[in-house]
């Protein structure tokens, strides 16, 4: 966080059918709808999140991810990071306050992998959902489905990983927590963090720009991941793989798809990161084990199915 980027703040996902999508993210993932806007977008949050929303759904004729936003500590930091991005040669776009409801101005830029990111300093603080900030109970009653704890990270597929790394690490102050290197030493996957988490955003090399692999939501326990798997079956939701464990980050995980084909993950556990940690390296020859620690085989669908 040395440059003042604090954490993932939001992701805007395109869906083919808003009704089906809202049902999926509320009734299955257990997120809470907090607002809608005049463009028809729907705003949601997970219960432990203190700001008004972390997930924005937009109906479109092609699924995928519009952008991911990171919250920075304050306006002065936003001004400085915007200068730093421009000085580094990154084209930035201004998105005015209130374009997303109850969110301050955003500075948007596209990285060489083809993905759009944003920085912002202000969003309406609504507090954790269903619990007081004074003498709070352990958890709120009335949560649905998987009871997602928070929006955690995204994984993107695209080219130009090195140039993308440079922006995140050199300009925005992220650290490389884990990587996959091919036999020539080229980085083909990079897991970047701006916190104690193993990743706040990750990229895997892919020829086509701007592809979306998944948005991930945190759960507390392995038991909760197994319960998520039960709910996926009960609701006849499209499953990808799991429950299993990753080699990379060692998180315990399950993957599935929203009704428009965007991949979701819910996971628990995983390693932690401090800035004095050196990157963990996985060799591409061990990619199967790196991705799915139990199967130890490269899973075709996991590697190629994207929106």
């Amino acid at each position: 966080m040395k440059k003042g980027v604090m954490r993932p703040g939001h992701v805007q996902i395109r869906v083919l059918d808003m009704g089906e999508a809202v049902k999926h993210y509320t009734e299955l993932l257990g997120m809470i709808e907090t607002d809608r806007d005049d463009q028809g977008r729907v705003y949601l949050k997970a219960w432990t999140e203190v700001d008004k929303f972390s997930l924005v759904l937009r109906e479109a004729d092609e699924p995928g991810c519009d952008f991911m936003g990171f919250k920075v500590v304050d306006e002065d930091t936003l001004v400085q990071l915007e200068k730093d991005l421009v000085a580094y040669g990154v084209e930035v776009e201004q998105v005015p306050a209130e374009d997303l409801k109850d969110c301050g101005r955003r500075v948007r830029f596209t990285v060489p992998s083809g993905h759009a990111f944003e920085l912002y300093a202000d969003k309406k603080y609504t507090g954790k959902w269903g619990v007081s900030s004074v003498n709070p109970e352990a958890w709120p009653r009335g949560l649905q489905g998987m009871k997602a704890v928070r929006f955690d990270h995204c994984l993107f597929y695209g080219p130009e990983l090195a140039a993308t790394y440079d922006i995140f690490v050199n300009v925005l102050g992220f650290h490389l927590a884990e990587q996959v290197l091919d036999p020539e030493g080229t980085r083909v996957a990079q897991f970047l963090t701006v916190s104690m988490k193993e990743h706040d955003v990750a990229f895997i090399h892919h020829e086509e720009k701007g592809k979306f692999h998944h948005a991930s939501f945190f759960l507390d326990t392995w038991e909760a991941v197994l319960r998520a798997a039960d709910l996926i079956s009960m609701t006849d939701t499209s499953i990808d793989i799991g429950p299993t464990r990753h080699g990379l980050t060692h998180g315990q995980t399950i993957y599935f798809f929203d009704p428009s084909g965007n991949r979701n993950e819910v996971f628990c556990g995983g390693d932690y990161f401090y800035p004095d940690h050196k990157p963990v390296t996985w060799q591409a020859e061990q990619l199967g084990k790196a991705i799915f620690y139990h199967d130890r085989q490269v899973n075709e669908r996991f590697m190629t199915v994207l929106t």
Binding site: D66, E208, G261, L306
Partner: protein, 109 residues
């Protein structure tokens, strides 16, 4: 409930699909693998097929993988077609990487 036969002329497989069930879902239920399975939500384009014969209803599909002109040619995603008569389908290559980048919807607010 009505049942329809789906014949995949590329692989020679045929299977029964119930009314209201997608072709891909029926195939998976029969344990067949004659069409590749991706997101099952009309989003990823992996299960693209061409319907050669028969009538069906279409659900929502990503425009990059199933644009209107392709749908007219019967090029559709097996996860999002619901037979109303017996069908004959053939396999197609999934949309290749790079094919669609120019048409990709970019970040919008």
């Amino acid at each position: 409930m009505a049942r329809f036969q789906v014949y995949n002329c590329t692989t020679g497989d045929d299977f029964t699909c119930q009314e209201g069930q997608s072709v891909l879902k029926a195939m998976e239920q029969w344990g067949l693998k004659c069409v590749p399975v991706g997101c099952r939500g009309g989003g990823c384009g992996i299960c693209k097929v061409r319907v050669i014969e028969g009538e069906y209803r279409c659900g929502k599909m990503s425009r990059v993988h199933a644009p209107p002109e392709a749908i007219e040619q019967g090029e559709v995603l097996a996860c999002r077609i619901y037979p109303v008569t017996d069908l004959t389908i053939e396999c197609l290559e999934p949309s290749a990487p790079g094919d669609t980048s120019e048409q990709t919807t970019r970040a919008l607010r």
